[in-house]
Amino acid sequence: MDLSEFPSLSRDTLRDIRLTVDSGFKDFTRTYGETLELMLEPVKDFLIFLEGLLIDSPWFIVLAVLVGIVFLLSRNIKITIGSVIALCLIGTFGMWEDTMRTIAMVTVCTLLAIVLGIPIGIFMARSDRVQGFVNPILDLMQTMPSFVYLIPVVMIFGLGKVPGLIAIVVYAIPPMIRLTNLGIRLVDPDVLEAADAFGSSSWQKLVNVQLPLALPTIMAGINQTIMMALAMVVVAALIGVKGLGQPVVNAIANQYFTMGVMNGLAIVAIAIIFDRATQAYGKRLQKHSEVVHG
């Protein structure tokens, strides 16, 4: 007997297992794929609408609006001016349209991650059992190589925007959930007790105390989610998501060094803009949140 070889299942058994799971999943896809696609139709429409808006509107208006949002969030001149310069450079080097596609994609994915992630985070914060159940799933989601997410979504939805969107949301949502949970759990128990003492219902406690006090932490979650979504946009180019990712994938295949680096830098630039703007906003939220005694 060859001891250097681990006694694995026979080739035939392994193949059978694979075939069974695959065909099971294919059946699932055939049965529910269309329903799922239908459910996601509004999200897809919104994504297409936003993309069109960003691409088809006059560039200076889009630039002004984007920079305006950055200023409103950060209230910081340096960050605002930096964004103007970065966006102008992107335009000058012919990456405007791809950048707009990527911004639209990341925006929609982030919104989706917020809408799904915050309620899950709230449930986790309310019950140790839910936390014990969800945490290992999040661990799995965060350590699974991102490419693996592409396989099932492609099987269900084929190539295109929607599967990309789902893959990105799945990849980017864990920090949103984790930090919502953490933020709520870190709320000062004394303040919660006061809310109880005045007769708050649990909904009133959530809305008036827990969420507002957790907001800076939740903002940190949003920030991380945006960063992960941006990272995943490139990977999602493999399944047909247009934007800054596709030229990068092209560049790898064809060894176009300059094109790869330029698009890479454009991603870095919007990442920095998103990051600084949301972080500065989070800091502003935190201004009154520290409790001071004495």
């Binding site: 000062d188 303040v191 007790e193 006061a194 809310a195 007769g199 008036n208 105390v209 507002p212 004495g294």
Partner: protein, 343 residues
């Protein structure tokens, strides 16, 4: 304002731990706090508490840290569920209320002030103060009007738009007080409300509270570990040790007749001149019809001031209607102020 309703606490037990209910009988049979802890790993929080808190008066609960004061006061609005016993408000048992009844009770009948203030840090002074009314569903305009009155009453006019972390500790606790008063509740629960404050600010806040009580006549439960504060504020005082009441009565009763050496230690350092009344020390067998007059219900310190000002050794003690009821000498006054009268 109608006379506030009192609170009756009857045979109240609290045992922390998974099988509290089963441990009650052991405690009733005489098991001590340390034995319960060592043998059964349960913490005895409250042990057969019986206190009748009079309506419209300030009931002080005093004791060292860990004696169960916070546990006790949290039973009155049931932030902590009892293991056994009753907490009666009028003829309602707080311990038997449903969740909805309890929430209504907390909203309309009680308000609480906390040691660490427990203000909402993301809300301004005004928004903190309206919190109780807001969750009751009172329209915001009316709520803010009512809150503004109390903000002014505790001396914070002009600070409505400040955030808690822009205020000193004393001012933060004024917000805590305004928030509680705005609720317009019968019962005011104060858990070491002034313990985190500097001595001078603390005296200030005590004065604010006494002034307010003069006009409001709420049923106040005030927790403290400080005897001077207890004596100054308390119409009645209950002393806790290891979760049990070891003495209760008026401040004077406790200072004059400490039940055991634990309380005697507590009262040793107290300024007796501010606690003992003239009527307790006077010679009731005599009366005087001439000379200096001292009211029977003033404190000895006040009497000493009168003696010093008038330069006399003896004075006639008179009751409310002006009738002489006894005689007070300067010797009796001084000796009562410096030594324990009786044991």
């Amino acid at each position: 304002m109608a006379e506030a309703t009192g609170i009756e606490i009857k045979e109240l037990y609290k045992i922390f731990g998974p099988n509290g209910k089963e441990m009650v009988q052991r405690v009733k049979d005489g098991m001590s706090k340390s034995e319960l802890n060592e043998k059964h790993n349960h913490v005895l929080g409250l042990n057969n508490i019986n206190i009748s808190m009079p309506g419209g008066k300030i009931q002080v609960v005093m004791g060292l840290s860990g004696s169960g004061k916070s546990t006790l006061i949290r039973h009155i609005n049931r932030l902590i569920d009892p293991t056994d016993g009753e907490v009666l408000y009028g003829n309602e048992d707080v311990c038997k209320m449903s969740q909805t009844e309890l929430r209504e009770f907390r909203r309309h009948k009680t308000a609480m002030v906390f040691q660490k203030f427990a203000l909402l840090p993301h809300r301004t002074v005004m928004k903190n103060t309206v919190y109780g009314l807001e969750i009751q569903g009172v329209p915001m305009k009316e709520a803010e009007e009512r809150a503004a009155r109390w903000i002014a009453r505790v001396g914070l006019e002009g600070f409505e738009d400040h955030y808690p972390n822009q205020l000193s500790g004393g001012m933060q606790q004024r917000v805590g007080l305004a928030r509680a008063l705005t609720n317009d509740a019968d019962i005011l629960l104060m858990d070491e409300a002034f313990s985190a404050l500097d001595p001078l600010i603390r005296m200030d806040m005590q004065t604010v509270l006494l002034d307010l009580q003069e006009e409001l006549h709420k049923t106040i439960v005030f927790i403290t570990h400080d005897l001077d504060e207890a004596l100054r504020l308390g119409d009645r005082i209950a002393i806790l040790r290891d979760g049990a009441v070891i003495q209760q009565g008026t401040g004077q009763q406790i200072v004059l007749k400490p039940e055991d050496s634990y309380i005697a230690d507590f009262v040793k350092e107290v300024n007796r001149g501010r606690v003992i009344r003239v009527e307790t020390v006077m010679d009731q067998t005599k009366t005087l019809n001439t000379g200096t007059q001292i009211p029977a219900n003033v404190m000895l310190e006040e009497a000493a001031k009168i003696f010093a000002a008038e330069g006399v050794n003896e004075a006639s003690v008179i009751n409310r209607s002006g009738t002489p009821v006894g005689v007070l000498t300067i010797q009796d006054t001084i000796s009562a102020m410096v030594t324990p009268v009786a044991h």
